[in-house]
């Protein structure tokens, strides 16, 4: 974004502090524009003025331009599953944060028999992995035209669209692409790809069907030419694919192209290349070797470019040793480094506990809390879970850093009145907080039981240790 201080935004606002945007003051709204937690259009008075007055409209457009992200934001898909890609501002996450996680599209190809297609699609839509309080899921499909048959491609595109996820349509043959667009253009698929050979036809398709388009070229001069040509013909939703070469010098070159594209856009402010970047880890399947080698290599390529700037990716493998690490890495790289992920402290009742059930204590770091909560639920353990405010720090670090202390345990016991809810006086603490055992007993008068190091082992622990032998 071009503006650097809230004051610059403030000057464009009505400055009435009317609160319609939900913020107390125009200044506060301006600072939220700057960290991108508010949108210019949330200032309704500004929008209303623009509707009635040409000058105000110009002003609004100027503000939108000044506050738009450095990298264009492109939407793929429609409705609640639509994905935003791009929209980034910085080269290093600590400089602000990364915004739109790399979109993961999974391979389906049209020469596969229908039953197999359904199997793959089912696996993608039903996939889930619990992490920090929610399930991580997969984003969408990449439908490839391996048949080179327009009819079949359209049929499969339609079938896959039925799964309700965003799609990338993959065919270099414009006839095939057109035939698929005829049936699924209303799903706003991303079309892949316009190249030096087919760009005219693809330009026409992008305009006619109003769909976002990937431009593919290894030569960055050519890639930029394509982008400038498409943009000046009226195509705004552009994604750049600088061609993923999976190994050797090819991989080195790919690394360079991806980084240079993003640096050019952000350091030099070159709008002609300030678009989302597509990387295709699926290219790893073209190297020699067995399935494990290829899958591992696909993970390697994906990881490299999740860290460095890919906004969308096409994967072939849907095996866990590819999916789980890449999904987790994406989550890690795209969490907002400005705020530790935390949950509200207090008392949680797990599985309708009775006054005889155990009292556990943990921290309010989201990763810790949700791990513990889910382990308890999965193991069908009934109990009372005290959640201590450690300012979003996990068990071991907060014990070491003095944010998990005996006196804070005492305060939490008092605040939550847990003593009135249970008949016993036993508190189960995390194994990693064992060193606080004595201190907590002294402070609170409760008997402290040291639980396992990993809450995933609470089930076995309970069988042995609960109810406690007097």
């Amino acid at each position: 974004m071009k503006v650097k201080s809230p004051l610059e935004v403030y000057n464009f606002l009505p400055r009435t502090n009317c609160k319609e945007c939900g913020y107390e003051t125009c200044m506060s709204f301006a600072s939220h524009i700057l960290d991108r937690s508010a949108k210019v259009f949330d200032c309704k008075p500004l929008v209303r003025d623009a509707e009635n007055d040409a000058k105000a409209k110009e002003k609004l457009e100027k503000l939108v331009e000044l506050t738009s992200p450095e990298i264009a934001e492109v939407v793929v898909g429609v409705g609640s599953s639509a994905l935003k890609i791009g929209g980034e501002e910085v080269l290093h996450r600590h400089e602000l944060t990364f915004f739109n996680p790399t979109a993961f599209f999974y391979d389906v190809w049209d020469s596969l028999e229908d039953k197999k297609i359904d199997e793959r699609c089912d696996r993608v839509v039903s996939y889930k992995k619990f992490y920090v309080g929610k399930y991580l899921t997969l984003d969408g499909f990449a439908v490839r035209c391996t048949s080179n048959d327009p009819k079949r491609f359209a049929e499969v595109a339609k079938k896959v669209a039925g799964y309700g996820k965003p799609m990338v349509l993959i065919a270099l043959n414009p006839e095939c692409m057109k035939s698929a667009l005829e049936v699924v253009a209303d799903q706003r698929p991303l079309i892949y790809a316009a190249t030096e050979g087919n760009w005219k036809e693809f330009l026409k398709l992008a305009l006619d069907y109003k769909v976002p388009v990937v431009l593919r070229a290894k030569d960055l001069n050519l890639l930029k030419s394509l982008a400038v040509t498409f943009r000046s013909a009226g195509v705004k939703d552009i994604v750049l694919d600088p061609v993923t070469e999976p190994i050797g010098e090819g991989l080195q070159g790919t690394f360079e192209r991806v980084i240079q594209l993003r640096r050019k856009a952000i350091l030099d402010g070159d709008k002609d290349v300030a678009y989302p970047i597509m990387v295709t880890p699926i290219a790893a399947w073209m190297i020699e070797g067995d399935e494990v080698t290829k899958a591992y290599w696909e993970t390697v390529i994906a990881s490299m470019f999740i860290v460095k700037y890919a906004d969308a990716m096409i994967f072939h493998s849907i095996d866990q040793h590819v999916v789980m690490p890449t999904l987790t890495l994406r989550f890690n790289i795209y969490t907002d480094p400005r705020t530790p992920v935390q949950v509200a402290p207090g008392l949680r009742e797990i599985n309708n506990p009775t006054p005889d059930d155990p009292v556990f204590i943990t921290t309010n770091f989201a990763l810790t809390y949700y791990t513990v909560e889910n382990d308890l639920n999965s193991a069908k353990i009934r109990g009372w879970l005290l959640v201590m405010n450690t300012e979003g720090i996990g068990v071991e670090a907060s014990v070491a850093g003095g944010k998990f202390t005996a006196s804070k345990v005492k305060d939490l016991i008092n605040e939550t009145k847990i003593g009135e809810k249970v008949k016993h006086r036993y508190l189960v603490i995390p194994g990693l907080a064992a060193r606080l055992q004595g201190a907590i007993e002294d402070e609170t008068g409760w008997k402290v039981l040291v639980g396992p190091i990993d809450s995933g082992r609470l089930k076995g622990w309970m069988e042995e240790k609960w109810p406690p032998k007097k």
């Binding site: 619990f130 399930y135 270099l172 006619d208 400038v228 399947w285 073209m286 490299m304």
Partner: protein, 455 residues
Amino acid sequence: MAKKFTLEDFLALLKKYDVEVLEDVKIDGELEIELEGSAVDLSAFTALYSLLSEFGNFLYHANMALTYLQRLSTMLGIPTPFQVQMPAISAPAPAVVPTEVVKVPEVKLPERLIEAKFEAPKVEYPGYIEEVVLGATRADGGTREYVVKLGGEKSLAFYTFDKPQPNLPAIAIDVFDRPPALAKAVKVHYEDVVGSPSEWAKKCVKKFGADMVTIHLVSTDPLLENTPASEAVKVVEDVLQAVKCPIVIGGSGNKEKDPEVLEKAAEVAEGERVMLASATLDMDWQRICEAAKKYGHVVLSWTQMDINNQKMLNRYLLKRANMPRNSIVMDPTTAALGYGLDYAFTNMERIRLSGLKGDNELNFPISSGTTNAWGAREAWMVDSPLEGDTPWGPRELRGPIWEIVTGLTLSLAGVDMFMMMHPLAVAVLKEVFNMLSGKTKGNVADAGKWIFAEV
């Protein structure tokens, strides 16, 4: 120099790790990290508890060095090995779209591409990362066959388009002086050597291509065997005899005992230019530094994920202990993928950028205890303990990739030296480093083949 490692070798190596027999799969998420088979009651034995908590520590506290065993290095010396058994579907010629179905577009379509030139940006930093040499050959008064150089960068990792990468990251494999607690997938590779640190070290170098080894003197821990320093360091002599690579010597992580142990180790390794792991803020770092200076070694400056603490400790080492600038390596702490990797990555990236921008208290090579990745339950558990999860698949495949992705991510933040354990993870990371730095030639014949191929 050494034998060239070909794609075939690489693939053969990888194949060995193909889905291993899963006879012992139990879907209960039971921990594979055993402590000599005993079930440990934490509440009863504080000593054992801290031993357990040291698990993280000693896997992690492995501080290592590096070098390039060109053995695995030039891995894919292959021009185009990709005559794959894929049905060759030829790229269709761009078809002419029949005019009658085309709606007349409102915009006039361009006839030819608008010319544009992409001028790649160049980034130069005022600073540089110190180059630290580990190991000493005969010429320098030691007995190592080669040295390992860390650091020396003037740009971000693998940004060879800004500046050449002077040294690739090196990999050290962990060796322990007593049988350690290890995840099963790791343990199977070391079962035959756990009793003998020198055999263990040999295996790391000869079989798994380690650039260096780290010998962790864990048994010196007062809560374990409490081996006296003078006795423990005999293992160091054995290892120096057994392998000719540069070595790293780690203590037990005990803040009181480590200075004494490392001092003694420095003495027996005189002239070999080892790395002493580690000096931390809450111990007698001065004593470790004195020993390092006296016997010509390098010190690992280890802090816990805090750039300011790292800067402070480095400053103490430089200003108060007068360590030479070419004898400090930093360990800013590694957290596993999914367990704080975001913090570790950003902390290291910030440290590296500060160094490049000219902060001369942070411009030292970085080391990572990548073995920490095995602490993540996704790496070692048989399956998810949660019912809602899609099954996790064979852990034999998940574990190594967890170590690979953790290391790979941190290599992009600027890590110069990895302390690792799984041989497959070691091999894959080396391959990645060779490719990103341009050491591995070769390419696929057609980078667009996946578009049409039936995989």
